[in-house]
């Protein structure tokens, strides 16, 4: 869910884009500062490579710049930026036929700080979660990631994906169900081994 801090950033970014679309060139730097870290996080998860993710961030901002004449003043810029980033990531993925990797570094860093036994259990759970998410269809996976990892609200995720709020809720629910089933199956399997 979108926190109040995320909402403030989204609001500030939307107003910066408004000003940029109306011709205030200085607002573009402000827009970059507000959006680039989030877009880079999203694109890094899609590509698994820092360099490629940064290239895509650059392209996303160039597309936003070129399409500023079509930007709807007063609109929420976040879904638009993520929709452009996602489309570019899909396009690059198709061109390069590379596997989409998941960002496990953040989780790994957290897990290293835990006690060895619980860290092992958490690592295994994280691997199951990662594998389950990777196995999902792209639209379902992205809907889940936009809400869970990128801090978009359900409405923003729906807009970014060009679908309805109900459809995004359904995709997220299916993802949670898939994760629950995978983790439950793992627990049952371990119980049988003991």
């Amino acid at each position: 869910m979108e926190s109040s801090q995320d909402a403030r950033v989204a609001h500030a970014a939307s107003r910066a884009m408004d000003r940029y679309a109306l011709g205030e060139d200085a607002a573009f730097g402000e827009l970059y500062d507000l959006l680039a870290p989030r877009l880079l996080g999203f694109l890094f998860r899609q590509t698994g490579e820092q360099q490629r993710a940064e290239d895509l961030v650059q392209q996303t901002f160039l597309q936003m710049h070129c399409a500023r004449e079509t930007y709807v003043t007063g609109a929420d810029v976040l879904p638009w930026a993520f929709a452009i980033a996602r489309r570019l990531a899909i396009d690059v993925h198709r061109k390069h036929k590379r596997e989409v990797l998941m960002d496990a570094s953040h989780e790994a860093a957290m897990l290293d700080e835990l006690a060895p036994e619980s860290a092992l259990r958490s690592k295994q759970a994280a691997q199951i979660i990662q594998a389950t998410i990777e196995s999902l269809p792209e639209t379902q996976r992205t809907a889940f990631e936009l809400i869970k990892y990128d801090g978009l609200s359900v409405a923003q995720a729906a807009e970014a994906l060009g679908t309805t709020v109900t459809a995004v809720k359904l995709r997220a629910h299916r993802t949670y169900e898939a994760l629950r089933s995978a983790l439950r199956a793992d627990v049952v399997e371990k119980g049988l081994k003991r």
Binding site: M1, E2, S3, D6, L22, G23, D25, F28, G29, Y32, D33, A36, P37, R38, L40, G41, F44, R45, A53, E54, L56, V57, Q58, Q59, F61, L62, Q63, H65, C66, A67, R68, E69, T70, Y71, V72, G74, A75, D76, V77, P79, W80, A83, I84, R86, R87, L88, D91, K95, H106, E145, Y149, D150, G151, A158, E159, A160, L161, G162, T163, T164
Partner: protein, 220 residues
């Protein structure tokens, strides 16, 4: 929740992005709106030479003028409704959901057919025709509107480019059929199907096919 996946880009990326923007000129919103208004106005007028070359409204002179105006007004309302959904993105910079675009694509030909056929039998139709000239007139009047929409939104559609192209085509066809409704005095089912509804389907299909190639964003 602060997005867990936020990452810090290299400082040089900011300079690159700003340099990109500085070296690529982009129109502002007001410049874009002026351009869109001009392009759409030119597109709307592009079908009129054929309309006048084929006799203009004198071709439908045998139908009471009040009915001609009533039919065309209904077609105009439908076209505006389709145009609002297809061309205007409301409060979203991304665009309408795919379901809304699909609904417009289906609604435009069906509503056009139902609207015209509902007038059948209210007056004596002066002749009967297969509908090939109506087909041509609707295509010639609608195609420039579709081309204008594709041109104005070229490489800017991030989601649903196929559905957007189809909706553009259907809305363009609905606009094209206004001219045809002023020109053609026939409302029989078979004629309306071929001459008035079918060209909207054709434009929607062309829009869907071309939309994927022209509207969709591409990486460089």
């Amino acid at each position: 929740m602060t997005p867990s996946s936020s990452r810090s880009p290299r400082a040089s990326l900011r300079d690159k992005v700003l340099a990109d923007a500085a070296s690529n000129r982009a129109r502002t919103r007001s410049q874009g709106q002026r351009r869109a208004a001009l392009v759409f106005a030119a597109a709307a007028l592009a079908g009129l030479p054929l309309f006048f070359a084929w006799g203009g409204m004198s071709h439908s002179v045998d139908r009471p003028i009040s009915l001609t105006i009533g039919i065309a007004a209904g077609a105009l309302l439908l076209a505006v409704a389709c145009g609002v959904v297809a061309f205007w993105r409301g409060r979203s910079a991304v665009g309408r959901p795919g379901s809304a675009l699909l609904m417009i694509t289906l609604l435009a030909p069906i509503a056009t057919y139902a609207w015209l056929v509902s007038w059948h039998g209210r007056y004596v139709e002066p002749f009967s025709r297969l509908g090939l000239r109506c087909l041509a007139l609707t295509l010639v009047s609608g195609a420039p509107v579709l081309i204008a929409a594709l041109y104005l939104r070229k490489r800017t559609v991030a989601v649903n480019p196929v559905a957007s192209g189809a909706a553009f085509g259907a809305a363009a066809g609905a606009f094209g059929s206004i001219t045809t409704d002023l020109w053609c005095p026939l409302t029989s089912s078979a004629h309306v199907l071929l001459g008035h509804a079918f060209p909207i389907v054709v434009l929607a299909m062309v829009g869907a096919i071309v939309g994927q190639r022209i509207l969709a964003l591409r990486s460089k």
